[in-house]
Amino acid sequence: MKHLLFLFCSIVTVTTLAQNNAIAPGEKLMYTASYNMSGILTDIAEVTMETSEVKTSKATLLRLKCTATTYSKWDNFFKIVDLYESYVNPNSLTPYLHKRDINEGSYYKYMKYTFDHKTNTIKSIQRKKNNQEENKNFSFNSGTKDIVSTLYNIRLFNYQNMNIGSKKSFTIVFDREEVKAQITYLGKETLDTKIGKMACYKLAISSSENVLQGQNNNLIWLTADNNKVIVYGKFKIPVGNGELKIKSAQGLKN
């Protein structure tokens, strides 16, 4: 019960206090993803995170788009063209629509979540290579976000007043299941990146599922300024480990 209460409080705190003062429309971050092959890091793909404004007849939303494409030299061996999108409230990054279209080698999967925050239900559509469509509605807990809006939401936390070892919990909906995840603040470090020498917040990410391996094996570094841009990441997944390094950053808010 105590744990449940703690989790509830952290989610409420995270959702109510997190106001977007770090992300603006028109921001474009480009990364190089490398994979560790027998101890040698090999550049595999280019990852782009981009934001833009989307206007409907009722509201203006923020479109968060993440793409991953393999470098051309890999295309004949293993081609990846992934598109992740979220349409969110520009102030709180609350998601309304999330889409995932992944094309990796011979594997294809399309997933769409439509969030209904009044009834706390998600209407999902899943499509696979054989074009078979599967619709499923399921409920979600208040504060749950999709993977893309979570990635951006991490940038809204206030790390300045956090003590080393402090944790923040959040829930991500992935493959129509809610996954509990946690970030641990590990302190400040200065990194030499492609966009300059930056003071960074070092964070460890862990999840309740086996997607991310180990306690402090999945690390990200966010710039210790108002933009809190992810500049470097180290990850360990069941099929190996790799890195994510920033290549360029444009259209930053601050």
């Binding site: 040698i40 090999t42 989307v54 409907t56 509201a59 063209v81 889409k99 769409k112």
Partner: protein, 113 residues
């Protein structure tokens, strides 16, 4: 012993040559260096016994070619994405679909301007 080193050197040199022409060229350094070490040992033993060293010269040649090729690729090959058309088309289609979906959503009571 000389025969074992020669066989190992041949295997490593062939592996290094294959890897160096693939996108995995960074991995060719290990077998190429191993081939050079084994070939050097085989060369030393052949020299001692006065046996022919033609095959060993060939192994050296293969290893050096794969090392040069891998180094060149590591230093001068630009990693870039050229197949952007597919992704752009996917993005465009996805945004159009999303706009239709968003129009159907009830966003009226949410304070978004």
């Amino acid at each position: 012993m000389k025969r074992l080193f020669t066989i190992l050197a041949i295997i490593m040199a062939v592996l290094a040559t294959i890897l160096s022409v693939l996108p995995l060229s960074n991995l060719a350094f290990f077998p190429a260096l191993a081939a050079l070490i084994f070939a050097s040992m085989a060369y030393f033993l052949s020299k001692k016994s006065g046996d022919p060293k033609k095959i060993i010269h060939f192994i050296f040649l293969l290893s050096i070619i794969s090392l040069v090729l891998s180094t060149y690729k590591a230093m001068f090959t630009e990693t870039e994405v050229t197949n952007t058309e597919e992704l752009k088309a996917k993005e465009k289609e996805s945004k159009e679909d999303a706009l239709e979906d968003l129009e159907e959503l009830d966003l009226g009571d949410i304070s978004i301007n």
